[in-house]
Amino acid sequence: MFAFIINRILQAIPVMLAVALISFAMFAYVGDPVAIMLGQDFTEAQRDALVHDLGLDQPFWVQFATFTGHAIRGEFGLSYRLSRPVAELIGERAPATLELAFCAAVLALAVGVPMGVYTGLYRNSWLSRFFLTFSLVGVSLPTFLIGILLILVFAVWLGWLPSFGRGDTVQLGWWSTGFLTWSGIKALILPSITLGLFQLTLIMRLVRAEMLEVLRTDYIKFARARGLPNRAVHFGHALKNTLVPVITIVGLQLGAIIAFAIVTETVFQWPGMGLLFIQSVGVADIPVMSAYLLLIALVFVSINLIVDLLYYAVDPRLRIGRGKGGH
């Protein structure tokens, strides 16, 4: 078990390095931060001094080595745009993104699983057909359009919910939460739906397919033959056995929700990490962009590791295989 984890962590290191290198190489093409920092009026001498101060006159590999060396120590320097430490900026933005991702994931699960079970059990009811049609919308409409439609209906026409921002937040230590105020909770609703809709429909379709599969198996037929009530058959036996792949997908999708909250955060001006990233791209704020990309890589690597460990715990075959010394 321990060796397995060490092995996985060792495998993660080249992945992280590759991400760092690729993201760093990309920055050569996003533009020149110096041009933006200098503004409309500058002299050549000022320009050269700034390039030198930022270390941009050094060769690519030297810049990359310096960056990696600092990154290992958790130092990402100052944001070019905001002149503030990058770690601090990301730390400030993380709670907003994580709370949004959490709400979106809970929504996707709490609505997606029951809908999947229902459509699996009652394949031909009109409600199932409605759910399936609705899920097509969720899969096919781009996120920004869903967001704008929700804003139009619930903020502009009905005036029920705010169109942007996080509402009032409460500071719990370094964590700022929107869960403790009414306006904070109201502000979470539309972005959570926007962000979670795709995952919701994905989970629903997955659960439905798995349910259809499981309901055909012998042990379900046997359970019915034993005269167990429908409820016990559907939820105790069928659903339980569909959940293994669902958990896997949800785990991986959680990473995707955090990483791809960018669009939702931009539409709703949600002050999270994704919005920070987009604003940084606009002005070629290299320290923030590289830190963000590394962080997202770290999130994916960690989630993959956890999922691997879950497999290890859930699937006895993996353990037996290792016990025998491999085949």
Binding site: G31, D53, L78, E88, F164
Partner: protein, 527 residues
Amino acid sequence: MRKLLMAAALAVGLSAGMAEARTVRWAASGDPNTMDPHSQNVGTVTMVLQQIYDPLIQRTQELGLAPGLATRWEQVEPNRWRFWLRDGVKFHDGQAFTGEDVVFSIMRAREPTSNYGIYVDTVERAVLAEPMVVDVITSTPDPILPNKIASVMMMSRAWSEQHNATRPQNTRAREEMFTTRNTNGTGAFRLQSREPDVRTVMVRNTEWWGWNEPASREANITEIIYRPITSDATRVAALLSGEVDFVLDPPLQDLARLRAAPNIKVTEGPEVRTIFIAMDVNRDELLYSDVRGRNPLKDLRVRQALYQAIDIQAIHRTTMRGQSVVTGTLFPPQVNGYTAAEDVRLPYDQARARALLAEAGYPNGFEITLDCPNNRYINDEQICQAVVAMWARVGVRARLNSMPLAPFFAKIQRDDTSIYLLGWGVPTLDALYSFQSLLRSRDGGAGNGIWNYGRYSNPRMDELIVRMQTQSGEPRNEAIREALRLYREDVPHIPLHHQMIPWAMRSTFTIPHMANNQPYFRWARMN
């Protein structure tokens, strides 16, 4: 007794009147990068900081000059401007404003890490003549120093020294500067709280010296909440749903809808920003063209042909939806030196354009790449698309290379372009600023030709620019007029239009529309 009661009631009534909160919730697409008044010279920063800090000389609603922290000023010697300071002004932290602070602030703006160097480029040093009289000594006679000083905000010397912020910014430092998030000005509003990219709250400084000035007497805003909203659609939705009261930069495509909405009004006026196309008139062979061995843009006839092929009225009508002022000159009428007689375009004439091209030896036109930003000016990419289509009709096959502002500016600043679209604002409101940056030969002198990426160079133009820098009065005006005439004759640029700026707000809110695209809440009113 009765009198006393009445007095008490009056006092209560008065204080209740004063205490009535008038909050304005304001949104725009960008957030200020810093709260340091001498660091970043961009509109998104100054739109917040000029509520908090005062300059020596203020702008009027017509962008003229009016007393600010200086009550009067005079060029006492050719190289010496004298400023008499206002008495009894206090910084937000309670300290008195003195001449020491002025000397400190002007010298701070001269630091190499300041973005405001252009406003103090001729300043050699500032000295205290008397406690409340400051002399600014210039290296050459500078007739337009007051225009420039109007953009330099005054900080407290003691406060800056106490917080280790005597220089505007330090990119070498690995930690944040105090002034990045804190302020201490003398202005009409004080910074109450700031969360970068989320919310900036300013409250009325009841002790501000200017509340009794005629323009501010009716102003009643007690609190400003600024929140950036990046997405155009969301910003408009927030205004329509009543979550914000004032949007500084509503998108053009939504203006019709906003005008039709109840409780919303749109005010508009010209901005001091001119959009033009500049050309490489220096290289012997263009970087991005199929013409080998010569540079077609060096030929005046080709430049005129490209100019005359553009149907500017169509761009005005369709691309800009009427929100532009068509021009044939370098800067708009608000700028000192503008001459209506020189604001004449070469007429739109495709036949003439084709004839000129044929005459210059390009009867079948040529290929060229037009570099264009796509998120910097109003409808910038659409303008370029229209221009490319118009050139195609006279046989010039232009490829459009449009990109976001970050790579765009990096590219043109390497002189890596053959022809490009640019917009130019004039914060000093004086002709020199445009001529010096855009048309002066790049000779290494501070500010000379730093945005002249077509490398236009004409000795006569350089001579006229030197005259603008050193002379005053009628000889200077004559130099500007001649330079404008030369600009028309030489066609180093193809001028297109001055931008119009719409502001959208709730109908209960009034604020004077400013051609520098800056809202002044000290003149605003919420009913």
